[in-house]
Amino acid sequence: MNQGFFLLFAAASVITALTVVLARNPVHSALALMACFLPISAIFVLLEAPFLAVIQIFVYVGAIMVLFLFVIMMIDVREAVLQRFLPGGNLPALALLVLLGGEMLVLVLWSDRFSVTEPVATRTAGDIRQLSTTLFADYLLPFEVASVILLAALVGAIVLARKEPG
């Protein structure tokens, strides 16, 4: 049952990810990216992380994709549609990709550490209350640093996208 759902969502996310990379029109890429995040959040639900699934939909589908679509509407993307890939020597990049993917697959399938089928300890990780306690007690400093980074990004984005004064 779970395996069937996982395979369904994984196939959907891989197909839409390929659409992101292969689509001619950037608008199609953005919509395919949105369609790719939804099955991934479903996989988070299967992994008993419902909070992360909701965060994923809020932040990626709700905020980031709207940002992308706004920028696509602001600038003229018609002339960029003509050629999808970088011209000329893509061979080193392709070789690097094949090497990287082959290496990761070989390492994952070779090792027997990844063959766990059941969670190894008692189940507590589905509890959102405990997650938030850990986040706000043990990881308070990284949390505050992340909020400062978000503030810096906010100010930086406004300064960068503003028209030059005078």
């Binding site: 992101v20 990379v21 932040v59 990844f114 190894v120 996208a161």
Partner: protein, 100 residues
């Protein structure tokens, strides 16, 4: 139950697809979207390991990755808007102003 390595393989496949988009595509917007794909494939790994080894830190790291991604996208799109205003191009291979 789903074995752990299925999740890891899914993360690896999405990572390679995203890396292909970053390395091969010509449009800067699609390169940024492929970066999102890369970060998301890493999140799958974090949450899968956190689930199978019963540790909250996977989910907490994933929350931080999502926050940093939001910041990164905001700054990158700001730079993109400034670039289009100054140079009026969306091609990666046209932006060579810093090449000596």
């Amino acid at each position: 139950m789903v074995p752990l390595w299925w999740h890891i393989v899914l993360g690896a496949v999405l990572f390679v697809i995203g890396a292909a988009g970053v390395l091969l595509r010509r449009n800067i917007l699609v390169v940024l979207m492929s970066l999102e794909l890369l970060l998301n494939s890493v999140n799958i790994n974090f949450i899968a390991f956190g689930h199978y080894y019963d540790d909250f830190r996977g989910q907490i790291f994933a929350i931080f990755v999502i926050a940093i991604t939001a910041a990164e996208v905001a700054v990158a799109l700001g730079i993109l808007v400034a670039l289009v205003r100054n140079k009026s191009t969306l091609r990666v291979d046209d932006v060579t102003m810093m090449k000596g």
